[in-house]
Symmetry: C2
Subunit: 300 residues, 2 copies
Amino acid sequence: MSLLVVGSTAFDTIETPHGTQKECLGGSSTYFCLAARLFTSVRLVSVVGSDFPAEHRRTLESRGIDLAGVETKTGKTFRWHGRYAADMNSRQTLDVQLNTFGDFKPKVPPSFRDTPFVFLANGSPGTQASVLEQMQAPKFCVADTMDLWIEHEKDGLLALLRRIDGLIVNDSEVKQLTGKSNLIQAGRAALALGPKLVIVKKGEHGCFVFSNFFHYALPAYPTETVVDPTGAGDSFAGGFMGYLANCQSISTWNMKRAVAYGTVAASLTVEGFGVDRLANASREELERRYQELQQFVASA
Amino acid sequence: MSLLVVGSTAFDTIETPHGTQKECLGGSSTYFCLAARLFTSVRLVSVVGSDFPAEHRRTLESRGIDLAGVETKTGKTFRWHGRYAADMNSRQTLDVQLNTFGDFKPKVPPSFRDTPFVFLANGSPGTQASVLEQMQAPKFCVADTMDLWIEHEKDGLLALLRRIDGLIVNDSEVKQLTGKSNLIQAGRAALALGPKLVIVKKGEHGCFVFSNFFHYALPAYPTETVVDPTGAGDSFAGGFMGYLANCQSISTWNMKRAVAYGTVAASLTVEGFGVDRLANASREELERRYQELQQFVASA
C-alpha cells in the first residue's frame, strides 16, 4: 500500500570527524522517503524554496517518490548546520534558517488523501494534527517528535498521541515525555498516553519496541564506519513504515521485521555524508544487511 | 564441571538514589560465586581479614561454594565505598581501603588445581597470571580487567591475553585497550590480541560477543527497578561461566545461552542492595527470566 510522509526538506551543512559537506540534500522527509522507497510507493508533502534545484527533484522522482505534495515557495529552502563530536554520539546545532519551512502549512493534495500509511515527521504537534484532518481514514499513522515540542507544546502533543497509532522517539525524548528515568518504565508510560506502538531509538544501542501485546529489543546493525549520523532516525522510520506498508497485515512479526529493516536502512545512511549512501542503496543490499542483522542477534 | 574463581571479597558501602547500605558483603568473586552456584559447583580463591564474620561464610558455604581457597589474614577485609549518580549509569568511588587484599597472592589449594573452568576476576595481570601458573590444564579460562591495568600494566595484560580463552570487559575498557573508538572495531581488535572470545558489557544496553566464528548482540533484561548496580558485571560473568561449565561442550549456541544466563543473573543483582537479591535467587527464577529475555529479543 502507499505511504505518505509529511516533513522537512533541507540543505544541511554537516561537520563530522570525517570532514565537512556543505548544503547537501537533507531534511527529515528526504531521508524517510529514500529509505521507504525501497519497499513501497511514497508520497511526499513538504515545502522548498525557489533555490531548490531540479537535480534534487530528479534524485527523488527517479526513485519513484511522488512529489505532487511538495510546494515551492518564493524564498530559500530550510537550512541546517551541525557539528558532531568525535564519538559521533552528540551534536551541536551551529545554525538553523527555517526560511520557507518557517510557516509550513502542509497541504495534502486530494489525490494523496486516501493514503493508508502516514508518517508525520518531526514538526509542531499542531502542524502534525492538521495533516490528520486532511486525511480520509488512514490505516496506520505514526509520528515523530522532539524535545522542543515536549517542552513547549505538551498539550498539543498529548492530544496528537491520542489520535495516532505509533510514536517513534529517542531515549531522552521518551524519558522527558513521561518523566520516567528508567527506559522500560518510560516506554510503558508512553503507551498509556495513547499510541498502540512506541518505538524508542537508542542510536548505536539499537531500539526498544513497546506495545500492549509484545515488547521487543533489537540491537543496531554492527556498523564499523560511521561517517555522518544525520538522518539515521528518519531513515529508520522510513524503512520501518515502508516495509510495513508493503505487508499484508500489521502483525507482531511484521512489525518486528519492519523494525529490523528500519535498522538496516539507518545503518546505510550513517556510512556516508547526507543521503548519498541511502539514495544509492538497492533492495538487495538492504536484504543482505537484514540477514546479517538477523544472524547477529540470533539467539539460543 | 567445576569452576574456580579468583578475586576480591569485600565490605561495600553503597549510596544510590534508593538509599545507603553500609558494609554489606561484596567483592568481585562474591557476586561471581553467587551467580555461578546456580549452575555448578564453585571453588573460591580469595582473601579476607580477621573481621570477616562467620555469617558471611555461611551465606557462601550454604550455597555450595567451596571456601577452601579463602585465606584469612590478620587485619581488615577490603572495603569499598561508592556513590551512584541519579541515572545509575555513573559512579564515584569515595573510599577504597585495600587492607588484607592489598598484597593478595592467590594460593590455589592442591585440590583446586585440576579445575577445568577458571575465572580471573579483576586484578593485576601479574596476579592473574600467577593463578594460571598454579593450574594444571584448565579447559576454559576467562579474565576480567579494568582501566587501571590497561593504563599502567599494559604489557602484563597483553601477555595474559595470549594465554586465556576469553576476556570480559566493558565498552570503555575495550576501546581503551585497543585504541578504537568504534565498538565493533574495538571488539575485533581485542580478539586479535589473543582471546578466542571477547565479551563487551554495555550495562543497560546489553552486551556484544566477538569470536572468530560468530558475533552476537544481546540486549539487557528489561529491568524496571534498578536499586544498586554494584556487582552486575561480576554476576554476569558468574552466570556466563557457571552455565558454560555445566554444558557438554563449549559450542556457539551454548556460549549464546551462557551470555543470556549471565544477563539475567545481572538483572537480579541490580534489583537489590549488595548480594541479597542474587543470594536468594533460585534456578527457577533465573529460568523464568531467561525465557522472558528470549521472548524480548525473539526476532522475525
